[in-house]
Amino acid sequence: MTIFIPTPLRAYTAGKDAVEVNAATIAGSLDELTTTFPELRKHLFTSEGRVRAFVNIYLNDEDVRYLSAKEATEVSHADTLSIIPSIAGGC
């Protein structure tokens, strides 16, 4: 599966905008990603190991929060995972 890396996190993936992983689930894929690039971990997860509140993870076009199995969802080679920090603000 391909994991797409957002612009601000490419500093921690040697500049790569996409990383291939071979895990069977979303959680396994994120674990493989952060094992390969350990500096990513603190940007994606809280100290308790949960995905940070402002980090959105999409499996193809689906928000992982709304998948029935959430991060335990099984993935295939053709799937893509997008990491998207939230964007908001106002005056």
Partner: protein, 154 residues
């Protein structure tokens, strides 16, 4: 000071978007390529403001829409370089809300003040720092070029 370089077509498009949605905030993404001293913007992508409860003073882009914008920009060889939004009848300066909700470190955040429906000042701020704990906005210059390439894509 870093600089944000964009074509006049993109500059005009993001300011026009602010006038179009007035008195609500507009928002969108800036697509470009990194340079040693800042981003070179080649296109912008309009996005919907999901903060319909207080759209006159807040904006939010759906992450699902961002996934699509990033996918399309990747196909064009571009990256999400930053975001733009408007401040209706409010200065073109970042607010504490803007900083608290900004998470794209290294990217540019462009703000256009829209006064009585007309675009006024446009300023850019780069989200500097390495972590959520030490992030900060730094003012950056905006360089508008005449070259027209890839105006608003959506």
């Amino acid at each position: 000071m870093s600089a944000l370089r964009l074509s006049k077509a993109v500059y005009d498009a993001i300011r026009a978007h602010g006038e179009e949605t007035y008195p609500h905030e507009c928002c969108g993404a800036l697509l470009g390529r990194p340079t040693p001293d800042g981003w070179s913007i080649e296109a912008s992508a309009k996005a919907g403001n999901t903060r319909t409860d207080s759209a006159h003073k807040r904006y939010q882009i759906s992450p699902g829409e961002l996934v699509k914008i990033e996918r399309e920009s990747r196909l064009r060889g571009l990256s999400i370089a930053g975001f733009y939004h408007s401040h209706p009848d409010h200065p073109a300066q970042w607010s504490q809300t803007d900083l608290a909700e900004a998470h794209w470190l290294g990217c540019s955040y462009v703000i256009t003040a829209v006064e009585n429906g007309k675009a006024a000042a446009t300023n850019s701020f780069r989200l500097a720092g390495e972590t959520e704990e030490n992030k900060r906005f730094e003012a950056e210059a905006i360089e508008v070029r005449d070259a027209v390439k890839d105006p608003v894509s959506q």
